[in-house]
């Protein structure tokens, strides 16, 4: 859980790094201007240029997540005998290391494509942590229920699709964000339209999920929370997506003629612009993570089909 909590800000700051194009504010790696990561004078970091603040901060946070991952593996080893859980914990650590390496490579080779991969693995790691949290959560072990509801497999399938689509959508989004300046207008147009289509696809799936979860009897309260959250997040995300376009490229043509839109001047690199854009990126990660949570829970529910269900109080606990 701690891992999850520490990763989210990391994604936020990582998003900021791109928003401000600060990825190359520190040209070396793993050192910062020749200093060891932790020995870099904090005065220079905090009171120096903004780009340096966020890039170095992102590195420190990344290191923190790395330490948490190590602690996590250590505690799993001591407390949990299950082989699968141990492997999964190790894999998390592996992912952190790879992600750190990718971040470093992005800086060393100054390659935007790597930046994009780095940007895509981040949320994947976040989602993975969520899945881990769901599967290792202690509350699950005693659950025995009779949830053999006909809809569960369907729920599971649609939530898996949602995960896949949400991730794809994130990857396309990263494409748009890290678009190479040499890309042709046709390429960007294709990617942008694809992003819109996928937005519709994800939205449809999310609402289907919400609908299915609502249809279930009260016993699947565990799914209510992620599906409701997902629906809310998607609505927010759609609004943020539209806003992102407007603050970066102005009102689309069919609105631009109207009196409310005509006087609008884009404010490059303004606080408002970066807030909107970074929120859009971060909400994308949240949607992915929440859909993973819905999926993981549906798998777990499906997995213990014919055992007696505990009290509804227990289920309530599950839901939170």
């Amino acid at each position: 859980m701690l891992l999850v909590c520490a990763t989210f800000p990391l994604i936020w700051v990582g998003g900021l790094v791109t928003t401000y194009d600060a990825g190359m504010a520190v040209p070396d790696w793993p050192s910062t201007y020749g200093y060891n990561l932790f020995a870099y004078p904090w005065q220079t970091w905090l009171f120096g240029p903004w780009d340096l603040l966020i890039e170095h901060g992102h590195r420190l946070l990344g290191a923190l997540v790395g330490f948490i991952a190590i602690t996590f593996v250590w505690s799993v080893w001591r407390n949990d005998q299950r082989f699968g859980v141990r492997v999964a914990a190790l894999a998390a650590l592996g992912l952190v290391i790879i992600q750190g390496g990718l971040g470093g490579a992005r800086v060393l080779f100054d390659e935007r494509q790597l930046a994009m991969v780095h940007g895509c693995v981040g949320p994947a790691f976040f989602a993975y942590c969520i899945a881990l949290a769901v599967f290792t959560s202690g509350k699950w072990k005693p659950v025995e229920d009779d949830l053999a509801s006909a809809n569960l497999p369907r729920l599971q399938r649609i939530s898996l699709l949602t995960v896949v689509f949400a991730y794809l959508q994130l990857v396309i989004g990263a494409q748009l964000r890290h678009i190479s300046v040499m890309a042709t207008p046709g390429f960007f147009r294709g990617a942008a339209l694809f992003h819109l289509v996928m937005a519709a696809v994800v939205t449809i799936h999310v609402f289907q999920l919400l609908f299915l979860a609502k249809q279930q009897n009260a016993s699947v309260a565990a799914l209510r929370f992620p599906t409701t959250l997902l629906a809310a997040l998607v609505l927010i995300q759609l609004a943020l997506g539209g806003a992102t376009w407007v603050v970066k490229y102005g009102w689309p043509e069919f609105l631009a003629q109207h009196t409310f839109a005509a006087p609008y001047t884009i404010q490059a690199k303004s606080l408002f612009q970066s807030l909107i854009v970074t929120s859009h990126v971060a909400t994308g990660s949240l949607i992915l993570a929440t859909s993973v949570m819905a999926f993981a829970r549906s798998v777990r529910l499906n997995r213990v089909p014919t055992v007696a269900l505990g009290s509804s109080a227990l289920m309530m606990e599950l839901a939170t």
């Binding site: 396309i172 043509e253 404010q267 490059a268």
Partner: protein, 418 residues
């Protein structure tokens, strides 16, 4: 986990997902290094106009001459042209800061400013065909023609340093061109330098293509294999061509249209009324384009000069131009401004409007005014400076004027218009 999946996830949807993932990864492709691209449109235009063919060798010559003079996007060069003080227009250190890939150092000094802030719209070459361009209307500016809209100099003049600074600081309302006022002054200066650099480079490229089209078959722009005299003669003529382009930028600094403030005591109501008469009258004839109610709907079928290069009304030509690749953006009509909204892209101060009406808007159908002296004989065609101020007063009053006011006050004008 697959054990639990296999029974519930149909293989069909799984295959679907895999295909999608593959599709996206093919998207991810490899990055290309930033480089200047050729002005294929203008070369084709020369070929069409003069009915010649510019050979691949000749195209390479143009590219090489340009690279020799101007360097690359990572390493720009200020050409030595002798005779003119090019340092006033292009500053090598500023170009260095604005060019190259995006990065910054420990003291927060940035590099690669153009690629960070501008290239995704204006393109690395400044051809106005950056990746995002297709969605924007108007399209981002193609600097290579050397034509700019909002400036203080007369038609066909280059913008002054001040003009470019205003554009970068204020952006262009109602278009995708952002305001960069959060950038520090030295970065703005570097970007101004870089816009000029791309514009000069682009215009020189056009001139070279023009020269090349004039060569007899087999002749080269700069023949490295030719005799010494030939070569130095060729180089001299290239340098002269470039110098002519740069000179226009040098001259611009002293060409700003002088403005005499209007009489502050003037009767504003009468001035607006006079402006209105002029607006609908036969000489200024603003109504022709801006429309009877000034909603910008007088005529909507014209094109700007950048689009006109594609010969949009000649279907066969247009097809050929568009066939060059998707960096050639499909033509779109330019619409006269809706003057009822009070949104002025070139600035909203009275002197900004005065300049727009006095000098017209370069690269667009909006014409410059034929200005006559106050003492011109009655009946001389043209407008006096006071007339222009009246038009400014009228235009500024338009958003507040009732739209139901009959477009023409006096019958006399109606007759003249017909």
């Amino acid at each position: 986990m697959s054990r639990y999946l296999s029974n519930s996830v149909s293989s069909r949807s799984f295959v679907g997902c895999v295909v999608l993932v593959l599709l996206v990864s093919s998207f991810v492709g490899c990055t290309t290094k930033a480089k200047f691209s050729e002005n294929a449109v203008y070369i084709l235009k020369q070929e069409r106009d003069l009915n010649v063919e510019i050979s691949p060798q000749q195209r390479r010559d143009i590219a090489e001459v340009l690279a020799g003079m101007f360097g690359t996007p990572d390493k720009p060069n200020v050409p030595k042209l002798g005779g003119i003080d090019i340092a006033n227009v292009l500053d090598a250190t500023q170009l260095h800061v604005a060019s190259g890939p995006v990065s910054s150092d420990e003291r927060g000094r940035a590099r690669g400013l153009y690629r960070e802030h501008c290239a995704h719209c204006h393109g690395v070459t400044g051809d106005g065909a950056g990746p995002t361009a297709a969605f924007l209307n108007p399209y981002p500016r193609d600097y290579r023609m050397g034509v700019f809209k909002f400036k203080s100099t007369p038609k066909a003049g280059k913008p002054t340093h001040e003009d470019l600074r205003d554009i970068l600081a204020n952006g262009i309302p109602g278009t995708a061109m952002p305001s960069f006022k959060v950038l520090p002054n030295n970065e703005i200066e570097a970007l101004i330098s870089y816009v000029r650099y791309l514009s000069i480079r682009g215009e020189v490229e056009r001139e070279l293509a023009y020269l090349t089209a004039d060569l007899v078959e087999g002749e080269r722009l700069l023949d490295v294999t030719g005799s010494r005299e030939d070569r130095s003669e060729q180089a001299a003529s290239i340098r002269e061509t470039a110098a002519r382009v740069v000179q226009k930028w040098v001259d611009a600094e002293s060409q700003a249209t002088p403005i005499e403030a209007p009489d502050p005591e003037r009767d504003l109501v009468a001035s607006i009324k006079h402006g209105r008469e002029l607006f609908y009258g036969p000489i200024a004839n603003c109504v022709k384009c801006h429309g009877d109610s000034a909603l910008g709907d007088g005529q909507k079928t014209d094109y700007d000069d950048w689009t006109k290069e594609l010969e949009p009304i000649n279907e066969e030509a247009l097809e050929q131009f568009l066939g060059l690749g998707n960096f050639v953006l499909p033509p779109r009509n330019i619409h006269p401004r809706n003057l009822r909204q009070g949104v002025y892209r070139g600035g909203r101060r009275p002197i900004d409007l005065y300049r727009r009406i006095h000098n017209g808007i370069d690269g667009t159908p909006m014409p410059a005014t034929l200005v006559i002296g106050d003492d011109a004989a009655a009946g001389t065609k043209g407008l006096t400076k006071d007339d222009i101020w009246s038009l400014v007063d009228y235009v500024r009053n338009l958003p507040y004027e009732s739209i139901s006011l009959p477009p023409v006050i006096e019958q006399g004008y109606q007759r003249e218009r017909l």
